[in-house]
């Protein structure tokens, strides 16, 4: 019998807010030392009352727009109770009854993945265990940092679809400035079951908790698929609805202790937080603040004269498009900028194994300006760019120190050409006897003498004339 996978995802993403969800402590990127970024409110001390961070509401609504959701203009916060040392108030404020966004969808290739809801909630702290002293320490820096939980419908049929969805989610959320999606800031619970192909009923479901690495998610899904199919086909075990965790060392999932999962969270509406009403005016203001979508961005680029394929690559990555826009805004020609980003910058990214483009747009703009105005040659420009990528050098200073400026007069280039020709009679003879490769060798020697400063077109021209004499 053939089987199909049925997978649903709950994805937690930290929002890029300057402060926490219910107090004025700094948001996710602030803290350095443990418990640096805490106050009586996010430490669960008595007497403090929560005050909702409006920016977090706006980012959640933006996420809803990105994922084609219906926005609930009346939304509420609820309390979820459980005891754990990383949860200082022993309850987490979340949205159980009236989540902020519902009924959305995400396209991945030919497939559409349904989004059941997006809700806002606060993060918990971190526990650090010291085995030497058998002591646990709590760090509340992360406590109450705003998260959204994006709950998909059980629409995935393969691990590849899951990975494609997560990659798209990450780039969309980064693109709209909703989340930085830094390492570990995007965490998934994977709900997985298996059923005979064509069946409408769901199989027995396992939930794999708290995954953040894409490759581990893929491996865990593949492992679970085999486990479920084996159970159904060969009766290796009786499947039960349970929560499991991925063990990356043993390369398999294990059931979590029942105690950790059988909690009754006793949800009820938080009486300290009035329902949030997002009126039409506010909703439209949030909509207006959405960045252009990748499609809109790409269209804008083709209108600037960028070929369609290049425009699409630029628009699909927030860092690329941001850099492109910034450099064009500094006065460089769009076509030039596109070529520098797509060939030279991406070449450096590949060489240095960088996941994303990180370059000062003023520096990139200066390099392009120097090349376009023939102050330096394109090879010299590439050389500076590499230096900027490697050690963030100052562009003008670097050109000067390395003699890259083209300000070498033609007379100097001509004497260099004549000298190299005179010093290499063998090569000249080879050239005259029809070995054209010899000219390339001479050209290389001249370039080396000039330290790559002269205009290659001019040099080639002068060399040709000299050889033809």
């Amino acid at each position: 019998m053939k089987y199909e996978l049925v997978i649903g995802l709950e994805t937690h993403v930290e929002l890029s807010t300057d402060s926490k969800l219910f107090c004025s402590c700094g948001g996710h990127s602030s803290p350095k030392e443990p418990n640096d970024c805490v106050c009586p409110a996010c430490c669960g001390m008595p007497g403090m009352l929560p005050v909702t961070n409006k920016h977090a509401i706006e980012l959640a609504v933006k996420a809803g727009f990105m994922l084609n959701c219906k926005i609930n203009q009346y939304t509420t916060f609820d309390k979820k109770s459980y005891y754990y040392p990383d949860l200082p108030a022993s309850y987490q404020t979340t949205q159980w009854f009236n989540p902020i966004c519902v009924d959305g969808s995400v396209e991945i290739g030919e497939r559409t993945i349904g989004i059941k809801q997006i809700h806002l909630e606060e993060d918990a702290g971190k526990l650090v265990h010291d085995d030497a002293t058998n002591t646990s320490f709590v760090d509340y820096n992360r406590t109450s940092v705003p998260l959204i939980e994006i709950v998909s419908r059980p629409d995935f049929r393969s691990s590849d679809e899951v990975i494609a969805y997560l990659k798209k989610l990450k780039s969309s959320l980064q693109f709209a400035g909703i989340s930085e999606c830094e390492e570990g800031a995007m965490r998934c619970d994977v709900n997985i079951s298996v059923r005979p192909e064509g069946s409408e009923e769901f199989g027995v479901r396992a939930e794999i908790k708290n995954m953040s690495s894409l490759s581990e998610i893929k491996d865990a899904i593949e492992f679970e698929k085999v486990r479920h199919v084996d159970a159904l086909e060969r009766h290796t075990e009786i499947l039960q609805q349970e929560t499991r965790r991925w063990d990356d060392v043993k390369r398999r999932t294990f059931p979590m202790r029942n105690k950790e999962t059988a909690a009754d969270y006793r949800y009820f509406p938080d009486p300290n937080l009035m329902p949030i009403v997002i009126d039409d005016e506010w909703l439209e203001a949030i909509r207006a603040s959405m960045p252009a979508t990748a499609e809109e961005q790409s269209l804008r680029y083709t209108e600037m004269g960028i070929p369609e394929k290049e425009a699409m690559v630029l628009a699909s990555d927030r860092k690329l498009s941001d850099t492109f826009d910034a450099v064009v805004a500094l006065g460089r020609a769009p076509k030039s900028v596109a070529s520098w980003i797509l060939t030279e910058c991406m070449g450096n990214m590949k060489r240095l194994e960088l996941d994303e483009l990180k370059i000062d747009s003023a520096k990139l703009s200066r390099i392009i300006e120097l090349v376009d105005t023939n102050e330096i040659t394109r090879p010299a420009g590439k050389k500076v760019l590499s230096a900027v990528f490697e050690s963030d050098v100052d562009v003008d200073k670097y050109c000067e120190e390395n003699g890259l400026n083209v300000k070498v007069d033609e007379g100097f280039i001509l004497t260099t050409v004549q000298r190299v020709v005179a010093e290499n009679p063998d090569a000249v003879a080879n050239y005259k006897s029809g070995k054209t490769k010899a000219m390339q060798a001479l050209f290389g020697l001249i370039m080396r003498e000039l330290k790559g400063t002269g205009d290659p077109v001019v040099i080639r021209d002068l060399l040709q004339k000299e050889l033809d004499k």
């Binding site: 009586p40 669960g44 009352l49 005050v51 309850y91 646990s136 709590v138 009820f268 300290n272």
Partner: protein, 395 residues
Amino acid sequence: MGYYINEIKSTGNIAVDDTILIKGTPATAGSKMLENFNPLFSADVVERLEKSGYEISGKTNVGEFGLDLMGETSYFGATEVDGKLAGAAATLVKNGDIKAALNVDLNGAPRRAAAVAGVDFIKPTYGTVSRYGVIAAACSGEQIGVTAKDAESVKEILSVIAGHDSKDGTSLPAEKYDYEDVAVSRMKVAIVKELYDLASDEVKANIDKYSESLKALGVTVESVSLDCVKEAQTAWQILMSAETTNNLSRFDGVKYGYRTADYKNIDELYVKSRTEAFCFLTKATIIYGSDVLAKGKYESCYDKSLRIRRVVATKVKEIFASYDAILAPACANAEYKAYDIIDSFEKVFEESVFTAVPSITGSPAMVTKGVQLIADTYKDNVLLSIAKSVEGLEA
């Protein structure tokens, strides 16, 4: 036990319950759990008082987290006068030791204490006085109020502490309230039959006497029926217990407060710390509150109570369409003796029938001359004016 858990300044003229935070002064909420808890900030009401030049005399004794009749469950011992239960703050006011006191009314304790002591207390409209800096138990109904010897003094202090506070998400928008005096003659007051019938003869006689005084002022007094007082009582008990359970769950022995001496793991730390530090009534409330929020019971308990809250509010509004205020007992008896603490949950539940309606609807309620007056939301000034007029009759 004396009147103060922590005395601050003997020349101070305003006392506050030990459930209200003052930066740097320990705040116990009457519990062993917080015996050594030192708050990092002051309540909004404390800052307002200090800014207006009032001095705080100290932190008065309260029942554990304010859940009981009038302070008898305090870890530091009940405050008693002549062998009878007495509220610490109400007694200090009665004795003339202080001008006024701020008390947290979460299940009627300061109202009962004022009725027994014969002083005035107002639980103002919910949201008019900031709850920032109150060791919270039942957030949807608890409210800081003022105890003083007469309506004029209550008004003076209430005017200082009421007003919008951006630190409290439920705080109402008005920056300031002036509690304008209104003419009392030609007002109409309704006595709620269902509550009157539940009171002792002594309390009934007191209500009759108050009603005669009102008539002498030209007020029309009539008996009306409010057929949802029992429902209001049960619903408030459910909401109050559930919210208290949730709010007290932060006291787990991990971060501050009491921690048991011996424990082998985190579960034992939780269980032993809470078992050793909470009193019987607190534990009973937590068990009840956990139960009403349990899976499968939420709809029929907590959610139903929220719906009852709306029904009660509607029915009370109907009365206020024809009457300016309601007159009702504040408690069943004129005095209370110490009782077996094992009975505390039932005892408090029984008595809460008199105080639950304003607690669940957020309406203002005022105790004066041993009776309780209730008005529509924002009509705190009606209560103050009636109380002042009746007090004026004797002068």
